[in-house]
């Protein structure tokens, strides 16, 4: 795991803007400005860590953009989702959580797997959550590496579909 500096890679396809975040969300992160008439997709897969100041910047930014057409978050890593249960303001009513990672772990084999949960298939915000059986490379069952009550609590909140 390399804890590189925060980066945001921007791409535009037709009218949809996609930002790819990577590195550490901390006091040095700068979130670009956005045209409020375009839907925005933010891919968070490359985010390695989020500190309290990163949460401050994110919360401030997303609340300032609650009038944006839509903000779709995809491939949210554990380090980001873990904060959802603590801070309601991390997502706003115009935010769609399209997919997020759930860490599984086997203490015996010390193997770790991050499983991508997809909206509609594995969960629906305010709806259902389907936990898969996850096995390690030796075929042994792996445990959730999170407290499910906390980690999935954001799914109980109402959100735009």
């Amino acid at each position: 795991m390399s804890l590189g500096p925060f980066k945001c890679e921007i791409s535009v396809d037709k009218s949809v803007v996609t930002w790819k975040f990577s590195g550490v969300m901390n006091e040095h992160m700068v979130i670009p400005s956005i045209d409020k008439t375009s839907p925005l997709i933010i891919n968070l897969r490359g985010v390695k860590m989020v500190n309290s100041y990163g949460l401050k910047i994110w919360t401030k930014w997303i609340n300032a953009n609650s009038d944006l057409l839509s903000i779709t978050l995809e491939e949210c890593p554990y380090v980001f989702v873990n904060n959802f249960s603590m801070i309601n303001g991390l997502v706003t009513s115009n935010t769609i959580i399209k997919s997020f990672f759930v860490p599984f772990f086997n203490d015996q084999s010390q193997e770790r797997r991050d499983i991508l949960f997809q909206q509609g298939t594995d969960y629906e915000v305010g709806g259902f959550l389907r936990l898969p059986d996850v096995k390690d490379s030796q075929g042994e069952y792996m445990e959730l590496d999170v407290n499910p009550t906390r980690y999935f609590s954001f799914l109980k909140r109402k959100s735009k579909k």
Partner: protein
């Protein structure tokens, strides 16, 4: 609040510390963090040790050490907390696996990489690695942005978070250290300013437990105001020592052999010393 009014179970303390200051100690179990913080703020409490946390007996010893011989905690923090052997220079050196002196303000990334590699040598559980890393980040950030730039009232949260505002004074370099035993990782950070107001810190953490965090975040200049809460949430035990104007040292322990669920259910131990 008298012992009989307490909602928690009390141990017979007079066998351990018969002579003085019993109101400083609470040995209990399953007391919620918010209730403990409330007691720290409204009573003379300095140490809470909870039976269901790890190494109950050693934690009681830490309470007594920090109370009777606080220098032991300041000079040999890891060996005082882990208590494999008596704390001294030799045992401290043996247990201290990373000893990181902050020389430049942008040393944080190097420190976090070192800490991540070290913890990954003990467990591959991402949740635990993230808890230790986040704590290291918050302790480092506090040591370079807050400690040198606040007065003891701690009414303001230090320098604005930009490295150009920061100067590391050569004889007051913060120090981050880490070590472990068979169950616990201990991570700590020490600065030579001694400007942490423990009461203010506990009030801030309590506010985070009582309110929706997005409403507690400081959106103005300075820190986010939730870093200390994140440290408390991540750690099994927190040890805070302040020699006013001389040194602040915060250590945290992590139960690295437990699952994420078990860790999140551990009732917290808190130890403070202020002198």
């Amino acid at each position: 609040m008298s012992q009989s009014d307490s909602p928690f179970e009390f141990m017979e303390l007079n066998q351990i510390s018969p002579e003085k200051d019993l109101e400083k100690f609470l040995f209990t179990d399953n007391a919620p963090t918010l209730a403990i913080l409330d007691m720290f703020l409204n009573q003379k409490l300095h140490h809470v040790v909870q039976r269901s946390n790890l190494e109950h007996d050693k934690e009681i010893l830490v309470s007594l050490d920090m109370d009777r011989d606080p220098n032991c905690f300041f000079t040999h923090p890891i060996s005082t907390i882990l208590r494999i052997e008596n704390p001294n220079d030799e045992t401290e050196k043996k247990l201290r696996k990373i000893s990181f002196e902050v020389v430049n303000s942008d040393d944080k990334n190097k420190l976090l990489e070192d800490v991540a590699n070290y913890v990954r040598g003990l467990t591959k559980a991402n949740s635990l690695i993230n808890e230790v890393l986040n704590t290291a980040d918050e302790l480092y950030t506090n040591a370079i942005y807050n400690a040198p730039y606040v007065d003891y009232s701690n009414d303001k949260s230090g320098a604005e978070r930009d490295l150009k505002n920061i100067k590391i004074v050569e004889d007051k370099r913060p120090h981050v250290f880490i070590g472990h035993d068979s169950d616990r990782i201990v991570l700590g950070c020490s600065d030579k300013f001694g400007m942490l107001n423990i009461r203010k810190l506990l009030e801030r953490v309590k506010k985070c437990y009582e309110n929706e965090l997005s409403k507690v975040i400081n959106y103005e200049n300075g820190g986010a105001g939730i870093g200390a809460f994140m440290i408390f949430e991540s750690s099994a035990s927190v040890y805070i020592g302040v020699k006013q104007g001389i040194q602040t040292q915060i250590c945290c322990s992590f139960a690295y052999k437990l699952s994420s669920v078990s860790r999140s259910q551990l009732p917290k131990n808190i130890h403070i010393y202020s002198g």
